[in-house]
């Protein structure tokens, strides 16, 4: 199958600068700087239908178009490589194999938006990815593809790395800007939106690694080509799906957007591991409501997944087998969010530990029917939090109550976890 992002990969080692360049790498950058205006580049990305790969699925070209062109002072691009959402490891797989398409994508994005200086915000634990990027930046600079007066076009652009020290909330775009500025990484109020007032008060675009790494192929091959790589007419492009949990061969695979869930699990991850049958999965990372066997044929694309009651999120598919207790899964997930809460707003800081407490009661056999009602209420109430972390935390709780209420009730009736002997 045709691949976009993993096309250059070499087994067991990162691709080299020479290999990437001789296999069609940097063709897009040359094409853009020689023959396209910044607006042309932006329009191509709009026409391609590319939607953000960092979780929210916002159209990338449209996001760029919100940046005012006439404000004085610097504007910024930030590449979000925080990737701390449990079950998500696609950006690491991509960057450990090939840092160049991201570097090229960033320069193209900077050209389109008129940015002189970009940052890549990298989480702690991704030191190998950071080392690859550092090398790629040095090589691209030497080759005149980055830095001053790129390819003699008059356009200049630098990329800096910021290596963080571990905290999930840093991935939220406004918290990320505080983190980059060296402030405590609490989210900021929106509006003003980052496109108008972001990093150091300047217009700022935040994009995910995978979103930016897709830009070169869009520019090189055209928006329609990119669009057509998807599995359905409504979808656009390919997606890195990272699968983990009880499948036979967990892997990060690049597949057409819109491919069916069942096909990804059966066809590309070897099905379930021996002795396991499919019970449920998180379709797009830790904050997405569960899918069940009933969702086997849902096309894995933004709108169809939303229509089916969940979110495509990051494309991190975490699979659970028949022995897994869904209350216990939900407890693990909400514990994660309660610990990672930045503490800024009351619903999240106080609400999540309470939800953890209720799930603990149910899981250990001390739950009551009333607890189910309180949990359901909290799925609504935590929408009143300051940022998207707390609503995300309630995604799995929402899924638990919609698809596994029977199982929750069984805990209460039996006074113990029915999945444990």
């Amino acid at each position: 199958m045709e691949q976009i992002l993993l096309r250059h990969n070499k087994p067991g080692r990162p691709v080299t600068f020479y290999e990437y360049s001789s296999e069609g790498g940097f063709v897009a950058l040359k094409k853009a700087l020689n023959t396209m205006s910044p607006d042309d580049v932006q329009q191509a990305v709009i026409d391609s239908g590319l939607r953000g790969r960092g979780g929210a699925g916002f159209p990338t070209g449209k996001k760029w178009s919100f940046v005012p062109r006439n404000l004085p002072g610097p504007r910024w691009l930030i590449c979000n490589c925080d990737e701390m959402e449990p079950g998500t490891y696609k950006d690491r797989v991509l960057l450990e194999a090939n840092p160049y398409s991201l570097v090229e994508g960033i320069v193209l994005a900077c050209y389109a938006i008129g940015v002189r200086h970009a940052f890549i915000f990298i989480r702690r634990g991704y030191e190998q990815a950071a080392a690859n990027l550092r090398r790629a930046i040095a090589e691209a600079t030497t080759a005149g593809l980055l830095g001053e007066n790129i390819l003699g076009s008059g356009f200049s652009c630098d990329i800096d790395l910021h290596i963080s020290a571990g905290r999930y909330i840093c991935g939220e775009e406004t918290a990320l800007m505080n983190a980059l500025e060296g402030k405590r990484a609490n989210p900021r109020a929106k509006p003003p939106f980052p496109a108008v007032k972001g990093l150091w008060g300047g217009p700022t675009v935040v994009n995910n690694v995978e979103s930016l790494a897709n830009i070169p192929s869009i520019i090189a091959n055209g928006p329609q080509w990119f669009k057509d790589t998807a599995a359905t007419p409504e979808a656009a492009g390919m997606k890195l799906f990272c699968v983990s949990g009880h499948v036979a061969s967990p892997a990060c695979v690049e597949l057409p957007l819109g491919m069916k869930l069942g096909e990804i699990i059966e066809g590309h991850c070897g099905g379930m591991r021996p002795g396991s049958t499919f019970k449920s999965c998180l379709p797009g990372g830790a904050s997405t409501p569960y899918f069940t066997r009933d969702h086997w044929d849902v096309p894995m694309d933004f709108d169809p997944v939303a229509k089916a009651g969940s979110r495509l999120g990051t494309g991190g598919i975490v699979v659970f087998d028949q022995h897994t207790c869904m209350v216990a899964v939900t407890l693990n997930l909400v514990r994660f969010y309660a610990r990672e809460s930045c503490g800024w707003c009351t619903p999240c800081r106080e609400g999540l530990p309470y939800v953890v407490h209720l799930l603990e009661l149910i899981e250990s056999g001390y739950g009551s029917a009333e607890h189910i009602a309180i949990l359901r209420e909290h799925v609504q109430h935590l929408n009143y939090s300051f940022c998207a972390l707390a609503p995300g935390a309630m995604g799995p709780v929402d899924g638990l109550l919609r698809h596994f209420e029977e199982e929750v009730r069984e805990h209460i009736v039996k006074g113990k976890c029915p999945c444990r002997n």
């Binding site: 990737e83 701390m84 959402e85 449990p86 079950g87 998500t88 490891y89 950006d91 690491r92 989480r123 702690r124 634990g125 991704y126 030191e127 910021h162 290596i163 963080s164 020290a165 571990g166 905290r167 999930y168 983190a179 980059l180 500025e181 060296g182 402030k183 405590r184 990484a185 150091w200 990272c242 699968v243 983990s244 949990g245 009880h246 967990p250 892997a251 990060c252 998180l282 830790a286 991190g316 975490v318 659970f320 897994t324 899964v329 693990n332 997930l333 994660f336 610990r339 990672e340 930045c342």
Partner: protein, 157 residues
């Protein structure tokens, strides 16, 4: 006190930053690597270098998972307790490693070699369960492979 060459390195890192405090995480990490953890002395030194108050540095230091404001062992073992690792037996792995070290989770061995901490997803979910020691990530860890890893670390230090 940090050595003079380290002070100069940090000063030039700060000079290259857009604002002083943009370099705060790098400064804290360098000081932590020097002292083993971010000591009170290190917080005051970082504040001096960054032209912040010690309280402003403290506010940052306590925010990050991998900045240690309490003494830790030579090797900090971070065992992922997030969902994919949990599904693949991460919980019992953590308890078993605690058993191997003869400490509780969160403690440091009496010889000061190891500190054991649970941590968030390490982005290695396809090879669960995962742990990290220093900068190195280890996937598909079993009790046996963890035990070997500890022996190797003991021998190396």
């Amino acid at each position: 006190m940090i050595p003079e060459h380290m002070r100069h390195e940090l000063q030039s890192r700060i000079a290259a930053a857009v604002t002083n405090r943009e370099a705060a995480v790098d400064v804290m990490k360098t000081l932590q690597a020097h002292y083993g953890w971010l000591t009170d002395e290190a917080v005051i030194e970082a504040a001096g270098l960054l032209e912040l108050s010690p309280l402003q540095v403290e506010e940052l230091a306590t925010f990050y998972e991998m900045i240690y404001r309490r003494p830790v062992g030579r090797h900090v073992i971070h065992v992922c307790d997030s969902i994919s690792c949990w599904a693949m037996g991460g919980e019992s792995l953590l308890q078993n490693i605690a058993g191997l070290l003869g400490i509780k989770v969160g403690e440091t061995t009496p010889d000061g070699q190891f500190t054991l901490l649970p941590c968030c997803c390490l982005g290695n979910c396809g090879q669960a369960p995962t742990l990290m020691i220093g900068d190195a990530i280890f996937g598909a860890v079993t009790v046996e492979s963890a035990s070997e890893l500890l022996d190797k670390k003991r021998r190396d230090s």
